[in-house]
């Protein structure tokens, strides 16, 4: 039996880092992401793009559920470990950040 160990705590929540700007380029099937804190322009593939859009302050399970649903709509599937790995990538690039507790409604505008 394989036991998968999450790199994240169940209470970890994820959202775009402050100041990060996403610029979808649907004509080319990617999204550009600008990270002003560490000035760089990144090209996100469609799944990284979707994940970045879903990272709105909710916990991993909620983001992964929406991600899985979106994948199912196009006949694909998403394992939790893949979602985690993609989130790790976005965190390393400074696009998505981890919050210790869920953001309450409206807290991003506070």
């Amino acid at each position: 039996m394989t036991v998968s160990i999450s790199v994240f705590c169940p209470t970890d929540c994820f959202r775009l880092e402050p100041g990060v700007r996403l610029r979808p380029v649907p004509e080319l099937g990617h999204c550009l992401a600008y990270t002003p804190a560490r000035p760089a322009l990144h090209r996100l593939n469609p799944s990284a793009w979707l994940l970045a859009e879903l990272a709105d302050g909710r916990p991993l399970a909620a983001i992964a559920a929406d991600f899985g649903e979106a994948m199912a709509e196009i006949g694909g599937e998403a394992k939790l470990s893949d979602v985690e790995a993609a989130l790790v990538g976005l965190i390393e690039l400074g696009i998505v950040g981890k919050l210790a507790t869920p953001a309450t409604e409206g807290s991003q505008n506070a």
Binding site: G19, R21, R23, V25, E27, L28, L32, Y34, P36, P39, A40, L41
Partner: protein, 334 residues
């Protein structure tokens, strides 16, 4: 045909035509003083805010010398909040304090131009004693404070024997990339074309002999990387003219920022739509495969042939016997 974009994600601006150097080849025919028709810093700030609102996420700023534009650092800081910014400069105004100021303004990358790997060659072009050492020092200062830095060189007869030395110098200084650029028949370069331009075979020989030092990236747009990037290119020069690309500055106007917006011009200017569509008479299959675009650079194609659909003579497979060291009569300055 080329990919189609509904709005440009990347824009280049030539923010001023003022420059303390007097390069023999200057494309913008720049001088010490800004020209009266130049957009003011206030007009640029307004225009840049509009660009960001219209979806631009990458802004390349060149001149002239951008650092000479009064209020430039504030404009850079403002732009860098929402756009990846790149600044192209000759570097002579960048000491340690200016390098830190650029970093603190959030610049994404600085590109430092040199015209050789030695003082005498560089300064033959710039006409400014000490300017080579100042440019090299600028790279050192930028790298020391953590700014991603490239060096650029326009390939000419005078500096072709020094390109390898420049790659080695750049690697030693900690630059990330060197861009070797083709010489365009623009501005003052036209007046001395025969003295500085190389035939294509000599250009290719120079590029083919290069050994890229570990850790450095070489950028070059000759075969098999001859792209037709008009499909995604958008540019505005110092007087507000929307030209699509700085290399098209003498051939096109898609409107002026004083009377329209870049997005409006992108959507409506007929010639811009033609250039972006990328209809060309012939394409190099290797370059098309590598670059996803067709026909090579439109500025050099048009300069030599006078047709927007013509083959790019800087590509070995499309050159058709054109001697690039000779300008067409049509382009000779009066």
């Amino acid at each position: 045909m080329n990919p189609r974009l509904t709005a440009p994600p990347k824009v280049a601006i030539s923010i001023t035509e003022a420059c303390p150097l007097s390069c023999k080849h200057c494309y913008g025919d720049c001088g010490r003083e800004a020209r009266p028709a130049e957009l003011s810093i206030g007009e640029w700030r307004e225009a840049i805010a509009r660009l960001a609102a219209d979806g631009v996420i990458s802004l390349h700023i060149e001149g002239g010398e951008p650092l000479l534009k009064p209020g430039f650092l504030d404009l850079l800081a403002e732009a860098s909040r929402s756009m990846f910014t790149m600044v192209r400069t000759h570097g002579t105004l960048i000491d340690a304090a200016m390098a830190r100021a650029l970093r603190d303004a959030g610049v994404g990358r600085v590109l430092v131009d040199v015209m050789g790997a030695t003082g005498p060659t560089h300064e033959w072009f710039t006409g400014a004693p000490g300017s080579f050492d100042a440019s090299v020092a600028a790279v050192r200062h930028l790298v020391a404070c953590g700014v991603a830095t490239d060096m650029l060189l326009i390939l000419t007869r005078q500096n072709a024997p020094e390109v390898q030395d420049l790659l080695d110098l750049a690697a030693g200084l900690g630059a990330e990339r060197v861009g070797v650029l083709r010489l365009y028949p623009l501005g003052r370069a036209k007046r001395i074309w025969q003295e500085i331009a190389l035939p294509l075979a000599d250009q290719m020989r120079t590029l083919g002999a290069l050994r890229v030092p570990a850790g450095l990236t070489l950028m070059q747009s000759w075969h098999p990387n001859d792209h037709n990037c008009c499909w995604q290119s958008a540019a505005v020069i110092a007087n507000g003219e929307i030209v699509g690309c700085p290399y098209l500055r003498e051939y096109v106007s898609h409107g002026n920022l004083r009377s329209t917006t870049l997005l409006e011009a992108w959507r409506t200017a007929p010639l811009w739509q033609v250039l972006r569509a990328g209809a060309v008479e012939r394409s190099c299959p290797d370059c098309s495969a590598a670059e996803g675009s067709h026909g090579g650079c439109r500025a050099t194609a048009y300069a030599w042939h006078g047709r927007w659909t013509a083959p790019d003579p800087f590509d070995v497979t499309l050159n058709d016997g054109v001697d690039l060291s000779v300008l067409p009569d049509r382009l000779l300055p009066a």
